[in-house]
Amino acid sequence: MKILVCVSKTPDTTAKIAFTDNNTKFVQDGVQWIINPYDEWYALVRAIELKEKDAATTIHLITVGAADCEPIIRKALALGGDEAIRVNADSHDSFYIASQIAAIAKEGGYDLVFTGKETIDYNGSSIGGMVAELLDMPYVSLATKFDLNGTTATINREIEGGEESCEVSLPVVLSAQKGMAEQRIPNMKGIMGARTKPLKVVEPIAVTPLTSIASFEMPPAKAGVKLVAADTPEELVRLLHEEAKVF
């Protein structure tokens, strides 16, 4: 059983969002980078749990990104995983990234490709589905639970207003979200061990991106809050009904 976990680097949620160069570039100064929370807390931790239960033999991590991703990969390796692969390319096009992951996944013959539900910066929710299509594998998105029974996976996934359980034969691509596992903090042994785990750098395959970012925009500033006195809450109801017209 071989698992490939896709991890990406994103700015910490509390990072200040600003743009430069005519609103075409994200200002990176002072931004703290983290492992995308869905990749770390849910996909990676569940993969580690499977390995702890002996259901997984090998966990490889993959990230498509420039050299500045390496601290993030080391942090992921400190949580668990046997080795990491960095595809040396910097792109925001989902198809480009997915094609790189699919190429590595095909070569490595993984039984399970784990992604997070979405990146918290580009919010695409796209990479997993694209990888699955490129590999002609089933894709279970927004999964909240994953278990293995031989070569059959039993998975719960979100549906509108609830959940459904399903069964699928390996190999499968999965996007993970809350419910899948609990956040872990790397321990000292993990941090020390991560320093010597293999981190392979490979060059990307040639792929033409399908999209590009033309520009960024900040949302219009809020007008400011209109406060209603605590002793006349019925005035709030009137405003919501007559002014905001939300009900």
Binding site: M130, Y139, E217, K226, L236
Partner: protein
């Protein structure tokens, strides 16, 4: 050239988000001087000709039992056949749970550039550029698609449905249908509640409510307004409310017309899931609570005093005794 709108159905009924996608698709077709065709997979009981009211000219049906249940791989295969048959250059679908699995598969299969979570019509004055939210709602990106076929998945509540007179022609579409590889063994829907991701109104509670026994006021207001209920992560972590209700960076993201937050501080991780809401109301006893900075309306006050009066006022408005 044409626009193809994918209609999402559940248990034979068209989902609300598909009417938004139909309206959007018809408007894109108008921009491109062409027509919008819709496609529905699986058996549907609703009146499909009525999609004409949203501007759809023709509805293709693939009424096959094997497609009653959503399977991203089988659906992708069938829809790709329809894209070819209709010479579609733009494919529109909802950025909902099914759309998030379908759109990227379709994009990879057709090598068609996609926008995940569009919030506006494309700008076609110089290429084909579509706006979407990035950084969890804190900014927008205008993304340019360079491929011949373009896929747009539309965010929930991002585009107002419009209806006029009109009726679409309905015809069967003959497609090869691959066998689904995912076997669904159980479906567990929380009935009697508005699904959070589709809700137009959301009433949400935080740790300021002190304990699960005080959720009556959240539920009462929600049921009066036909709203969904939500909560902060602190509340879900304390097991006061089920985890599927938790919104924010690590929970669900919502974009309703009204997000009504009671006793929630408004931490940045919480805001990440709700800041696309059109109107935000905050009830908090602390005037310094960060949520007020993101709010449109607010009351600085004790929820236990304010909420009963709000519920009374809404009852009066709705004519409920």
């Amino acid at each position: 050239m044409s626009v193809l709108v994918i209609i999402d159905q559940s248990e034979g009924h068209i989902k609300k988000s598909s009417f938004e996608a139909a309206t959007y698709g018809a408007d894109v077709a108008r921009q491109l001087n062409t027509t919008a065709t819709a496609i529905v997979l699986g058996n549907v009981q609703d009146d499909l000709a009525a999609l004409g009211k949203y501007g759809i000219t023709k509805v293709l049906t693939v009424a096959n039992d094997a497609l009653n249940h959503f399977d991203a791989q089988a659906y992708t295969n069938v829809i790709a056949q329809a894209v070819n048959a209709t010479s579609a250059t733009v494919v529109v679908l909802s950025h909902n749970v099914n759309g998030k699995a379908l759109a990227p598969r379709l994009s990879a299969k057709l090598q068609a550039g996609m926008i995940a979570g569009a919030v506006a019509l494309p700008d076609t004055s110089n290429g084909f550029i579509v706006r979407k939210g990035v950084f969890s709602g804190k900014a927008f990106a205008n993304i340019s698609i360079s491929t011949a076929v373009k896929i747009i998945s539309l965010n929930a509540n991002a585009y107002q449905t419009k209806t006029t007179e009109g009726s679409a022609t309905v015809e069967a579409f003959a497609a090869n249908i691959p066998a689904p590889r995912i076997k669904v063994t159980a479906t567990n829907k929380i009935t009697g509640q508005v699904p959070l991701s589709e809700a137009e109104l959301v009433i949400s509670g935080g740790r300021g409510l002190k304990g699960p026994e005080n959720w009556g006021m959240i539920e009462d207001l929600a049921s009066l307004l036909g709203a969904a209920t939500a909560c902060s992560r602190a509340v879900a972590d304390a097991h006061w409310r089920p985890h599927h209700e938790h919104v924010g960076q690590t929970g669900g993201a919502v974009a309703p017309n009204l997000y009504f937050a009671v006793g929630i501080s408004g931490a940045i991780q919480h805001l990440a899931g709700v800041n696309r809401s059109k109107v935000i109301v905050v009830i908090n006893k602390d005037p310094e609570a960060p949520f007020f900075k993101a709010a449109d309306y607010g009351i600085v006050g004790d929820a236990f005093e304010v909420m009963p009066k709000i519920i009374e006022a809404v009852k009066k408005l709705k004519g409920v005794a």
